[in-house]
Structures are given as structure tokens and as C-alpha cells.
Subunit: 358 residues, 2 copies
DNA sequence: TTGTAAGCGTTATCAC
DNA sequence: GTGATAACGCTTACAA
């Protein structure tokens, strides 16, 4: 963190408040009432005679008075601020989820702070600390790894917490996530039904529950068919580059896999790009399926078979759970909401239309 | 794990603070020093003997003390919080820009509040009001329309402001945006050079500077070639649906346009989708160009000729300008940073490769 | 090197 | 209906 120059020596002449920085006291003076009366008028709490109300409102308008929430929050212990700590808002899944969170927060009169951790536990810890210091009313967290250090920090402050997208093994917290095991299982079954016997799995880092669970679902489907998938599992990062790289390696295998399961959207794009560059037709020579769909908004024509997650709704749900905790004091037991992904079969794993596209 | 206990009913026994909600006073007592000394230690301002420092740090750790930034900010008049008010973070251009802003803010120790206005002036005004009440240190705004109501609010509070992506006609404020006129001019020239004489322009709402300016650049290029573009200009929203709809209408014209210029990424996708559904080959029968590129991350193979904006860098720059204002008191004149778009010619407007694709 | 006192702008509590 | 007073948790200004 950089150093920050100390604020200008406050030359605040009491009788001449800088225009637009009036305080409740200035308003009170101008309206000829006590500060608390102004407070009651602007918060619509307590009674005020129409005449008083009018005078106060006139003073507010005349001075361009803007209440200082800092002071209010210091007293009321509510900041009306939520935080969303995710790995990378650039991933369309998280973009949409974030939008769901923001919309829901805004409806309830809450503002949202967004933080990108890039899968770094260290960044996550620093952000969480900052957020707690800011006294946010609640935090939605996409945990970077399997560790619970950040979670403990939050819990120690009694700040409501909801996990989004990923679970934290062995820790009971409010969670909203997709059924990764089930979705991966179904997608793998789909490939098996298509006759594939050499199915590769590209996934994310160890300790990230989505990466682990999608591998688990894949393995379950294979073993039900009496196969083992171990030697065709690859793990990298949830990025295009990683997907491209792992795919290149797979292409050199003998026999070559006839299908590739990408455990997230970025991996899938990396895979498709490598196949495209290598001139390998999809699904002609290699079928591709992915966990995570790409938003319809961003595609001319959907092509990829996928387990689609309701990202926006997941964000909404997470925000609602969180607001529940924030607004009601009632300490109910942790809730885990697991939504089913939608399995969408498209061209990338079937022979219905032309082979290569995007 | 146990459920989160209700914050102790404020029976705040002064000697026994609830674990994890200790104040600076608790720390001071435990360390046997004055609160101000604790403040000096944790802020690394002022001196403290190693022994004192150690005792304070031990007390902080023992109590799980988390400083309350609200109180700090109330005194120091710095919240270390910036806000980004944009139309829709779901648009990849804004997603990337937001990421640029957040990264830059985080580096400087600032946190970012994100607000989506959906092009609504009303929402914009409400958000801006909330943000000012929260005493954010600065605001980056993508103005929803040509009105300056929100801007006046911000300026009345002497809160630093930077406009992003769009200018506000007749108002001098720090601004970071792309050269829409120039980019549109070049893209249109490219189409003209390709022999096109019936070039349609799909743009956004009136009053949005990017929509207006891109039309202006288009018109300028046409008139330089002795043509008028008026009757092939369409205006809708910056959405897929709008693009699809306007494209359908264009297809019924006689003679049919041979090229379509989409003024943003969503419009372009709507256009391509409609053409695809109508079985019209691109660029075989209709060429397409767009302002805004789609992030490489999201595409298997780039196809669309475009004026690409450096979204991430624009976000960074906006944040830097803002932090400049926030950290330095020196009131310098408004700066306007206009970055050139990169014109990228791809298949959608040339005959080099296969006709229809992504 | 450390401490005292005051105040940041608001609201809770109790009084009139 | 309206007001006086104290407090929220911290830091600035000044003192020792």
C-alpha cells in the first residue's frame, strides 16, 4: 500500500461552511430547530409538525445538505454496504453473478463493494480485513482456495457471510453453489452415450471445490461404465491459456482422446482454440463439452455443449441469504443452496450440423 | 461449526468486551497505554518505543482487534473508497474497464463500490446521492444521458469526478474516453474502400455521446465520398435485441444495404445473429463492422472487424486521474484523455476466408 | 516517547 | 411535537 499524504490542514471557519458541505447543525440553525429535529425529518422517524417539516426541507434544499452516513453508521452500526469478494469479475459467470448481487443489494438500499482476488489467498485475506475495518454489513465470498483463514476472520467479527460458487470442505456456512458433481456426471454420461471411450478432463487447481467436484463427477460416470479416468485428467488454472496448453499436450497422446471435458468456460475456449488452430474438426474428430455456458449475449450462435449455471440467479440468491442475516438477528442454522446446472447439448458433442464454428 | 451467535445484547461490560469487537480503548487498557498510542502503533504514525509497540501488538492480537474505519474516516475525512457508476457491468467493455479501475484502486489501498444504472438517469441520480452520503473519496461516472444533474450534485460536494467512456457536451470535467468520431470514420472509410455504397449504421440512444459521435464519424466519411447516410441510420438501444430488430428492418429495404456498421458490441452480436438466422453470408452478401471488440478471452476465433477500445487501460487511466485528484489537493484544470481505438480488419468485412462463422 | 482533551456528524435516550 | 445531552470509535492539536 502506498503512503497517503495527510489531509489538508482543516481551515474550517465555523460560521462559513463551504457551500455543499453543510452539516445537520447548519441545517438546524437555518431552520431554527435542533439537530435532532432535522434528523427526524430527513429520516422520517418521529413526528414533526408540517410547518417544521417545511422549514427543515427548505433549509436542506437551500444548503444542498447531504447527510453524512459515516456518522450515522458509527452510531447505528449499520453501513448498508455489502461486499463481494470473487476471483475475477472478468469471467462471464462471475460478471453475471455480480450483477445479480448488485441488483438485489440495490433494491434493498445497499451498496456493493467488489474485490478481485485472482485466486490469491493473500489478496483475499487483505481484502477481507479491509472490508471488516470498513464495517460492511455482510460479505459474499468466492473462496480462493480450500483454506478457511478469511472465513475465520469474518466470523470473529460476527459479520454475516455467504459463500458463492465454491464450498469449503468441513466448514458450515451459508452457501450458494451449483451441483458440480452432478453436472459433470451428466455431461460425462452424455459423452459415454455418444460412444466415447477416451475422454479427457481438464480442470482447475487442487483445493478449489468446483475443480475437485467436477473431476469427481467425471470419475463417477466413468467408473460406473467400468472405466478409469485417471490418466486423462489434467489440472491447470481456470484460464484460456491453461486450457490451450493442456489441450496441446493431449493431442500428442496415443491414442488421442476423442472427447474433451473442460471444467470451466475459459478452459473450454482455450481447448476449442487449440483444436481450431490444429485444424481438428469439432465434433468431427474431437467432441467438446464444458461446465459453464457462455452468456447468450456474447454469442452469435451457441455451439458448445455445456452444463449451464444460472449465474445471475445464484448471485441474487446469495445476496438474499446475506440480507436475511443482516436484517434479521435471528441466528438460524447455516443454509446450503445447491442449484442444478442445466445440461445443454449442442453441436460440439453431436454430429447434427457443420463441424467447426464458434 | 456453530451457528453465528447473536451480537451480545449490548450489555457491554466495559471490562469484558465481546471477543472480536474490541475497540481501541480495550486494546489500550490491555496494553497499559493511552488510545492514541495504540493509534500511533497501528498506523505507524508517530513514534513508539519497541517495548510499547510490542505490548500494543500483543494486545491487538489477543483481542482480535479490528480498527473501525468509520470512526477513522469521520475524523480524517478520507474513506479510501472510490465508486464506479456505469450502465451495465455485463457489457464486456465495462467489465474490463471495471477491472482496470479496481486493480488500480486496490494498489493504492482503495476499495471500489460498483453501481449499474442501466442507462437510467433516475437510478444514476439516486446512486450518486447515496455515494456522496457515504463520503466516497471520488467517483468515476459513465453518464447515462447528456444531462449533467448528477455531475452537479457531485461537484457541489467537492467530490473528485472522472467521466469514463462518454463525454458531457458543454461541461468541463476530467474525462477518459475513446475517439469515437475518428474510429467510426476509419471503419466507414474501410467499408467505402471495399466498394460498399449502401452502408447502414446502427447506433444507440440520442444524447449518449458515444452513440452520437459514432454516427458523426460515419457521416463524415460518407460525405467526404460525396454521399449522404441519413436514410440508413438507425437508433435503438445498445443491446443485442435492438441490434437484431434494426437489422431485420434493414433486410427488408430495397436495395438492401451491403454493409452494416454496429456502433457497439451488443448491437454487432444482434446483427450477426439476425444475418445468420436469415441465412445471409457474412461477408459474402453483407459486410459487418463494429465499434467495440469482444475480449479475446471469450472468442475461439475473432471474426468481426472492429474498432477496438483498450478498455482495461481506460479503466486504469480513469482511476489514476481520480486518485490524482483525491490525493493531491492541487486544483488543476480538467483533463480530457482521448485514446485512439485500434482498427482491426477481420473476416466479417473481407473476402479472405470462409464466409460465415462466429 | 507518551498522554490529555476535544471534536468529527450523527442518533439514542430521556426530558419537557 | 421538540429539545438537551451523551455517545459511537477514532484522530488532531497541543502538552508534558
Amino acid at each position: 500500500m502506498k503512503t497517503i499524504p495527510k489531509p489538508a490542514p482543516s481551515v474550517n471557519l465555523k460560521n462559513k461552511p463551504a457551500a455543499g458541505n453543510a452539516t445537520i447543525l447548519d441545517v438546524a440553525r437555518r431552520a431554527g430547530v435542533a439537530p435532532i429535529t432535522v434528523s427526524r425529518v430527513i429520516n422520517q422517524s418521529g413526528y414533526a409538525s408540517p410547518a417544521t417539516r417545511a422549514r427543515v426541507e427548505a433549509a436542506v434544499a437551500a444548503l444542498g445538505y447531504v447527510p453524512n452516513t459515516l456518522a450515522r453508521s458509527l452510531r447505528s452500526r449499520r453501513t448498508h454496504t455489502l461486499a463481494l469478494v470473487l476471483t475475477d469479475i472478468t469471467n462471464p459467470f462471475f460478471t453475471l453473478a455480480a450483477r445479480g448481487v448488485e441488483d438485489t443489494a440495490a433494491e434493498a438500499g445497499f451498496t456493493l463493494i467488489v474485490c478481485n482476488t485472482d485466486e490469491s489467498e493473500e489478496k483475499e485475506r487483505r481484502y477481507v480485513q479491509m472490508l471488516l475495518e470498513k464495517q460492511v454489513d455482510g460479505i459474499i465470498l468466492v473462496p480462493a482456495r480450500g483454506r478457511i483463514q478469511s472465513v475465520r476472520l469474518v466470523e470473529a467479527q460476527h459479520t454475516p457471510l455467504v459463500l458463492l460458487d465454491r464450498r469449503l470442505p468441513g466448514h458450515r456456512v451459508d452457501t450458494v453453489r451449483c451441483d458440480s458433481v452432478g453436472g459433470a456426471y451428466q455431461l460425462t454420461r452424455h459423452l459415454l452415450a455418444g460412444g466415447h471411450r477416451h475422454i479427457a478432463m481438464l480442470s482447475g487447481p487442487k483445493g478449489v471445490s468446483t475443480a475437485d467436484d467436477r473431476i469427481k463427477g467425471y470419475c463417477r460416470a466413468l467408473s460406473e461404465s467400468g472405466m478409469k479416468g485417471g490418466e486423462l485428467i489434467r489440472r491447470g488454472n481456470f484460464t484460456c491459456e491453461s486450457g490451450a496448453e493442456m489441450t496441446r499436450e493431449l493431442l500428442s497422446l496415443e491414442p488421442r482422446p476423442t472427447a474433451i471435458f473442460a471444467a470451466n468456460n475459459f478452459l473450454a475456449i482455450g481447448t476449442l482454440r487449440t483444436l481450431h488452430e490444429a485444424g481438428i474438426p469439432v465434433p468431427g474428430q474431437v467432441s467438446v463439452v464444458a461446465f459453464d455456458d457462455l452468456p447468450a449475449n456474447l454469442l452469435v450462435e451457441p455451439f458448445l455443449s455445456a452444463a449451464s449455471q444460472p449465474a445471475y440467479e445464484m448471485g441474487q440468491t446469495a445476496a438474499r441469504l446475506l440480507l436475511d442475516r443482516v436484517l434479521q438477528q435471528s441466528p438460524s442454522p447455516p443454509r446450503e443452496i445447491i442449484v442444478p446446472p442445466q445440461i445443454i447439448v449442442r453441436q460440439s458433442s453431436t454430429f447434427l450440423k457443420h463441424p467447426v464454428s464458434s
